[in-house]
Amino acid sequence: MEALLKLEGVTMDFGGLRAVNNFNIEIRKGELVGLIGPNGAGKTTVFNMITGVYVPTAGRIYFDGEDITGKSTNYIISRGIARTFQNIRLFKELTVLDNVMTSFHYQLKSNIFKAVFRSPGYREEEKRMVEEARDLLSKLGLLEYEDFIAGGLPYGQQRRLEIARALATHPKLLLLDEPAAGMNPQETQDLMDFIRMIRDEFGLTIFLIEHDMKVVMGICERIRVLDHGISIAEGPPEAIQKNPKVIEAYLGEAEE
């Protein structure tokens, strides 16, 4: 079966620094794949290239059969990729509900005048957006916070909200950037169940960057390891855990 996401020979140079070197990967629909590696290995850079924040210096990126290399971020989102960020980027001063509703905006059909003057068509759209947003929040256990200011939420709920907002764009592929960062063991366990749940509930394909090995080994079906921009290993969790090159890459980091 054709891959949902395919990166071919993707390379990223920043001036003289090569952050990612000849990265290739194929992710099929429904998979839950992990991307790990020491700090600075280039993982977020890979995500940034997929979502159009950076244009790769070389190589191509294909999504759902389409070449999306170098396209604008909002176009890529509209094709069905969504992401979260390493340092949560919520719209802090907006309400929880509003945060989710922003994801529907790009799908809005009404133009600005219809929106401002509340045409029947717009009101219908708004009503559906509110319903769907609340439904989503409910599924993610956030409905009780719907009118709260996002910045005031506890950390764990903020992470969930960011994921909820990503889900609201109706993605086929979800990129999660260190979703477990800053979480205690209980929260981490909840997160793992949560990720499994949304994958099943929403029929998603998930590509995940993570440092927390419990999460990675616990939920990923397949893991790719990146070190200094180069892919050094790939395989199921058990194999990666024992892979000497991987161990050395991480130990090397511990030594530095």
């Binding site: 920043f14 977020t44 940034n48 924040v53 960020f85």
Partner: protein, 297 residues
């Protein structure tokens, strides 16, 4: 235009360019160190003029003494604006600092208006700058020669300060990486204050000599030169002292020569400068000698 006419305008351009360079340095140093566009810098220059003016006319000091005191006072004023208005906002979003700078600018202008009065005053030009000269048919007043000389001396002094002294090294360090430098025990606050002092002193020098060249001073005299010096700093590469010097000279020359060759667009003089700014920012925001900075995602 014949050769003598051209040489005359060239001389004009060089002296104007020196003035812009002196003022531009203050902008670029402050931006380099705390990423603030000090809107009030042109008004600092204006204050320098007025301090010198009052030194001579009210306190009857010899002009050399008056000028030096004016420069020192202006340096102190610059530090005062930092301590009073900008330092408290060190952690605030940059836009807040910019708005505050706009406020300080208008404040200095309005205080000058209230205290000094709105009527333009005649700045006393010391005799040594007032000697009429004729060099091979090119007619000029001696200040045209003196201004680049004095500017040159000050600039050399500045280069020495920045590259050959410990203070200068500290300034360069803070401009490169403020956090790390402060972690290494450098009193960052003091370094920034010194930067403001030096930048303001140079602006005062530039302002005083501006008043020598154009002897009419008024509370709003700093606005246009200030903006143009800023444009020069951006053109040369904001944050880069050599860039400011280069930009200042180029802008001064361009302004004189363009109007000399095309007098019909003299009214659009200021618009030319602004258009230049817009073009630089759109096509090469780092200017001639600057470096780019990207945002981390």
């Amino acid at each position: 235009m014949d050769l003598t006419g051209f040489l005359q305008q060239l001389a004009n351009g060089i002296s104007l360019g020196s003035l812009y360079a002196l003022v531009a340095i203050g902008y670029t140093m402050v931006y380099g160190i705390i990423r603030l566009i000090n809107f009030a810098h042109g008004d600092i220059m204006m204050m320098g003029c007025y301090f010198a003016y009052f030194g001579i006319l009210m306190f009857h000091l010899p002009w050399e003494i008056s000028w030096i005191i004016a420069v020192v006072l202006t340096a102190l004023l610059g530090v005062l604006t930092y301590v009073g208005a900008y330092r408290p906002l060190r952690r605030a979003p940059r836009i807040s600092a910019l708005i505050t700078a706009i406020g300080v600018s208008f404040f200095l202008e309005s205080i000058a208006l209230v205290v000094y009065g709105g009527r333009p005053k005649a700045f006393p030009r010391p005799h040594v700058f007032d000697i009429e000269m004729n060099i091979k048919g090119v007619y000029m007043v001696s200040f045209t020669i003196w201004i680049p000389i004095i500017a040159g001396i000050l600039l050399v002094g500045l280069i020495y300060l920045i590259y050959k002294t410990k203070t200068g090294m500290a300034m360069r360090a803070v401009a490169t990486d403020l956090e790390t430098t402060s972690l290494m025990g450098v009193n960052v606050d003091k370094v920034i204050s010194i930067t403001f002092a030096v930048g303001s002193a140079l602006a005062a020098a530039g302002g005083i000599m501006w008043a020598v060249k154009f002897p009419q001073i008024n509370p709003y005299m700093g606005i246009m030169p200030g903006l143009k010096a800023f444009i020069a700093a951006v053109f040369g590469g904001i944050g880069n002292v050599f860039g400011a010097m280069l930009g200042g000279f180029i802008l001064g020359m361009a302004e004189i020569l363009i109007v000399a060759f095309m007098p019909q667009i003299a009214g659009y003089r200021d618009a030319i400068a602004f258009s230049l700014l817009i073009i630089i920012l759109l096509f090469k925001p780092t200017g001639l000698l600057g470096e780019s900075m990207k945002e981390k995602v």
